[in-house]
């Protein structure tokens, strides 16, 4: 077992001429909740997709548990994408069976209990669920695994405050404490209190990686305030150019 669950060195991902990640060096330890923070287009989703194997790096290395991304590392990673990835006609039960089949660390009882609380029955079709329920079901599946690394891509984007609380509570109460949770977001205020570490991504590079307490102590301000300062773009206030 490697000391770090995530190791990136000189990681570059280019889409044609545009570089989404421009040389990321990052090491994440175990048993932490890490905020992957940055504005839209800073490379958060790209980094997460490289870690779960949906993208291949243009240059550099990306290791999970000390191993290159492959079936072995995928067995350790629980990934919540920024979209629905299930076929509409499936029933909730089909999804549970799928997860139970492929992931040895999937806890069936935990997931059915979470589904009960969501009011999702095993025979309910995905098609009949609201967008919010589908997202919560997906979260329940992902958090019912005892994974080494949870990669949660924008789990609280575009949801109402009540749903936001539900999502954060589900994450906090269900993750494997020996594992690491990476939450990407630009809504820092809502998650700051649960984070152990923060990683700031700016234009495809890590500009800050530190413990949240250390940041607060050093800077004398919240991570949210520091974020606004780091990523502030001066608005044009009118007048003649």
């Amino acid at each position: 077992m490697d000391e770090n669950i995530v190791t990136c060195a000189g990681l570059v991902k280019a889409y044609g001429p545009k570089r989404a990640l421009a040389g990321v060096d990052l090491e994440l330890g175990r048993g932490k909740i890490v905020g992957l923070l940055g504005p839209n287009g800073s490379g958060k989703t790209t980094l997460i997709k490289l870690l779960c194997g949906l993208l291949r790096p243009t240059a550099g290395t990306v290791l999970v548990d000390g191993k290159p991304v492959g079936p072995e590392t995928k067995a350790l990673v629980s990934y919540l994408p920024d979209r629905m990835y299930f076929a509409d006609w499936m029933k909730a039960e089909d999804l549970l069976k799928l997860f139970a089949d492929f992931y040895a660390d999937f806890d069936w009882h935990k997931c059915t209990a979470m589904c009960d609380r969501l009011g999702v029955g095993p025979k309910d079709r995905i098609k009949t669920m609201s967008k919010g329920t589908k997202e919560k079901l997906q979260l329940a599946l992902v958090m019912s695994r005892k994974a080494q690394l949870y990669l949660l891509d924008e789990p609280i984007a575009g949801v109402d405050p009540a749903a936001r609380d539900f999502i954060l509570n589900t994450i906090i109460n269900n993750y494997n404490e020996a594992g690491t949770v990476v939450i990407s977001t630009h809504l820092i205020g809502d998650i700051e209190q649960v984070l152990d570490e923060a990683v700031f991504l700016k234009e495809g590079q890590v500009v800050l990686h530190d413990a949240v307490d250390a940041i607060r102590e050093r800077e004398g301000k919240s991570v949210d305030a520091l974020f606004r300062e780091t990523f502030r773009t001066a608005a044009w206030e009118g007048g003649t150019i």
Partner: protein, 297 residues
């Protein structure tokens, strides 16, 4: 892991064809019933002449044929689209986010899709044959054609078996293997084209189409340098059936045609070998792209 993937992918086959296959058979049954009861065609008689309902009956008979052609066309289109969609959407669309984060190898993902596409195709062909049988079996026009076909197949395969040894059933089995392999080759050709299209940032569908056409050119050259055994056989059966229909088979004619095929086993296994090599190349290219160049944006 492949077994688990197949379990999941076969659910899609069931979902996709749960209506299509039974509907094709039900339509065939309705078409036959309308022929037999409404037209009162006696199966022993000709459909057309034996119909007692005059023009109305003729229209119905044609409508039944139309239903048959429609069902067969729809089924081939649905089967082809299914094969393409399950690969394109299932591995390179939103659903790919799930499939590519499962702890499985890309080659297992490809194999699972391929096996499902092939099985769906085989079942579709069987259902299509059953639909033809349900509508037409027993009617004289069809039976005349059927006996001619059966006869020429028998003659052909007996001659082949006699010349090349091994018996009629071995020859038939070899032909079936060739047909199944051709199906796999055709699907792998499609997958390769789709995977190549995926390498581009934009216009992926257009690029897939272009890749398909570009691969097709050398392919038809390879296959075209010597005439395939299946076209040969179809041609021979056609000639013999025609000779039969025109009144008796000219034995010397059929023997001459068969004689030109050379050793059947050697010919068919050469062709299976060529298809195997092509399939392996397609599979390796597709696997390389999914393993090393995957870009789900």
């Amino acid at each position: 892991m492949l077994r688990k993937l197949l379990k999941y992918d076969f659910k899609f086959v069931g979902k996709q064809f749960a209506i299509v296959w039974p509907a094709a058979l039900a339509l065939a049954v309705i078409a036959r019933l309308s022929l037999v009861f409404l037209v009162r065609a006696d199966p022993k008689d000709h459909i057309y002449y034996g119909a007692q309902g005059g023009q109305f009956a003729a229209v119905l008979a044609w409508a039944a044929m139309l239903v048959l052609v429609g069902v067969l066309l729809a089924m081939s289109v649905i089967t082809l689209l299914f094969a393409i969609q399950r690969f394109y959407k299932g591995l390179l669309g939103d659903e790919g986010y799930l499939m590519h984060t499962l702890p499985v190898r890309p080659r297992q993902l490809i194999l699972s899709k391929l096996i499902c596409a092939e099985v769906a195709t085989v079942v579709s062909v069987l259902v299509a044959l059953a639909a033809i049988g349900i509508i037409l079996w027993g009617f004289r026009e069809f039976m005349d054609f059927w006996y001619a076909l059966e006869n020429s197949f028998l003659i052909l395969f007996r001659e082949l078996a006699e010349q090349s040894g091994g018996g009629v059933w071995l020859c038939v089995a070899e032909l079936l293997v060739l047909l199944l392999m051709s199906g796999l080759r055709a699907y792998l050709h499609l997958y390769t084209a789709i995977a190549i299209g995926h390498l581009f940032q934009k216009h992926r569908v257009a690029m897939s189409f272009a890749a398909y056409v570009v691969i097709r050119a050398p392919l038809s050259f390879i296959v075209g340098t010597r005439r395939g055994i299946v076209p040969d056989l179809v041609f021979n059966v056609g000639i013999i059936s025609a000779a039969d229909a025109m009144g008796g088979i000219d034995g010397s004619l059929s023997y001459e045609i068969i004689g030109s095929a050379g050793n059947f086993h050697a010919a068919i296994w050469t062709q299976i070998g060529v298809i195997l090599v092509l399939s392996a190349v397609f599979f390796l290219v597709t696997n390389y792209i999914l393993r090393r160049r995957l870009n789900l944006e």
